[in-house]
Amino acid sequence: MANSSQAMEPSEEVLKDLHFRMVRIRHFEEEAGKLMEQGKSPGALHLYIGEEAVASGVMVHLSDQDQITSTHRGHGHLVAKGGEFKKMYAELYGRETGYNKGRGGSMHISNVDAGMLGANGIVAAGPPIAVGAAFSNKYLARIEGRDSMNVAVPFFGDGATNEGAFHEAANMAAIWKLPVVFICENNGFGEFTRQEDHQAISDIADRAAGYGMPGVICDGMDAVAVWEAAGEAIERARSGGGPTLVECKTYRYVDHVGLRGIGLNYRTDEELEEWKKRDPIEQHEKRLVEMGVMTEDEIQAVHDAVMADITESIEFAENSPLPDPADLLNDVYTPTAAS
């Protein structure tokens, strides 16, 4: 923990970066939600709106050589990890030009080249896979004689921490002191079930001690708080100090699937409004202006640029070719010389 203290003050560059990532997520998701509701993009979308600070705060610390695993709510993670809108919307549209060539869609959107090992339709499937990636990172650092390791970061929800797979992964990471940082996005619900009905604890970070790793709680509505907590944990993991469980308290503005956020029978609109008062983007923008890092105009320009990118990208997706049904069986197996 010692050598990470100088990282505690975010530079202007970092502050802008956090902002940019959050804005990209928010607009990407809102537009994606509309496309789904208009019946333009097929399947079901689990949107990340409200939780942008988490993905952004973590991802600023990661390079393309660091891996993440994601969830059913995965667009935000990919956007924050530098996902290109064109390939993302094309994937949501099931086009050949999508990140997964249309084979995966929203629930499996991925970019292995940039270390994004996929959204996942199976709750808690990510942590064991991230442990495997971290195992690679440690293994490769050893044989390549590097001191610093790449880090693997599984994102997962509060609900996911009740799956056995989470437990097994956390334990393995701890025994082997693997470079993993477990990021729990505690948005208070697993689908429609409140946290108090799915676990008898209120701080998921309390589970860390049972694995022998540090557990940290941070404000998941504040990109800087996430950036700070994640930064320390990632630094520790990178330098061989082992895993950390970072719990980010956050909230999903929208329904479990789709855009609708209000009038839901499993939560009150008042609760939503309370959380929205601490909107991660508004909060951060206020800070940027107050600190003199960006002007309101500059902020608006970011939004505009992102929206322009989105418009262009949706057009790209809509005009992209569909997969050829003749290719249906391609990509089930990696071709082998032998067979």
């Binding site: 399947g43 997964n100 995966g104 079930t193 009905d197």
Partner: protein, 334 residues
């Protein structure tokens, strides 16, 4: 038309037939309870259990954490100690999370204990593709369950059958998987108001015919029926059999039919290799050997995960056209 068909009367959609089945199972048996992810407060992500929490309260309709092993374990332990658990595994794709509890505990406990335990457990789950939900929310994995001694497996494809299957399962002293079809949720059908059961292990002849037997289960029964319509227009009379119960399987009804029609085609939504259709085809080929005029055909999904892109998924999932084409092939009229 056979015994298992509903008399003319009240119409209900598949989802509401599910609700009614569970409701009546809970009404008639105070030791029955229902548990699963989001089954109570939300009435399930499919809305199939809406209203049950209000009617039976939180002691009997229970939201669980996202813990499939825990859910099946709960059913095993509660079932072995006197209750009648009805548990829900949202999407059938998630049974991978609890195959141990299903196969090594639920299915085997009675046998391993020398018959001294009884497992009156009902597991409800939703299978099938066609809704662009991609590789992990679209599978039909009934073959795993049917290969497991100790389990019974029913795959109802009508509103009538799904209600009956649930009540039958709930009254059974053995573990029964009711594998429902998410592609049929809006399908209406005649459903009597009173509770009723299905005869376990009895197939339903959905349509009578002379020249070809089509055996199809789950959602595919509707595609098979459509295919039979198409074929009828071409002068071919196809008999359509819905085994309904895949474990135990009504071999007799199938073989009797093939002995009459001399041709057989087996259809399902799961991938072809190693699907339940392989067992059905092998049984037909063995037991109706002397009656078959042509090899038993099979129409099923090709050997890949379910693709997301609608254009691919449509190619992937069997349909009436492909069934009809295969039928023509078998009959040499194609």
């Amino acid at each position: 038309m056979t015994a298992a068909e509903a008399p003319a009367g009240r119409q209900l959609v598949y989802t509401l037939a599910i609700t009614e089945g569970v409701r009546q199972a809970l009404q008639e048996e105070p030791l029955a309870f229902m548990a699963g992810e989001d089954v109570a407060g939300a009435g399930s992500v499919f809305g199939i259990y809406r209203g049950l929490l209000d009617e039976f309260g939180p002691d009997r309709v229970i939201d669980t954490p996202i813990s499939e092993s825990g859910i099946i374990g709960l059913a095993v332990g509660a079932g072995a100690t006197g209750l009648k658990p009805i548990v829900d595994i949202m999407f059938m794709d998630f049974i991978g999370e609890c195959m141990d509890e299903i196969v090594n505990q639920l299915a085997k406990m009675r046998y391993m204990f020398g018959g001294k335990a009884t497992l009156p457990v009902t597991v409800l789950t939703m299978s099938g593709a066609g809704m662009n939900l991609a590789a992990q929310h679209s599978q039909s994995l009934e073959a795993w369950l049917c290969h497991t001694p100790g389990l019974k497996v029913v795959m109802p494809a009508t509103a009538y059958d799904v209600k009956g299957a649930i009540i039958t399962a709930a009254r059974e002293p053995n573990p029964v998987f009711v594998v429902m079809c998410k592609g049929l949720m809006a399908l209406p059908g005649e459903v009597p108001e009173e509770p009723y059961t299905l005869p376990i292990g009895k197939a339903v002849v959905r349509r009578e015919g002379d020249s070809l037997t089509i055996v199809a289960h789950g959602r595919m029964i509707h595609e098979a029926t459509k295919a039979a319509d198409i074929l009828e227009g071409e002068g071919v009379s196809a008999e359509v059999i819905d085994p309904l119960w895949l474990q135990p399987l009504d071999t007799e009804t199938i073989i009797n039919s093939v002995s009459k029609t001399h041709n057989a085609l087996v259809v399902h939504e799961a991938v072809r290799f190693g699907g339940v259709g392989a067992e059905i085809a092998a049984q037909i080929a063995e037991l109706a050997f002397d009656y078959l005029d042509a090899p038993v055909g099979r129409v099923a999904a090709p050997f890949s995960p379910v693709p997301f892109s609608p254009v691919l998924e449509q190619t992937y999932v069997p349909n009436a056209e492909r069934i009809a084409a295969e039928a023509r092939q078998i009959l040499g009229t194609g």
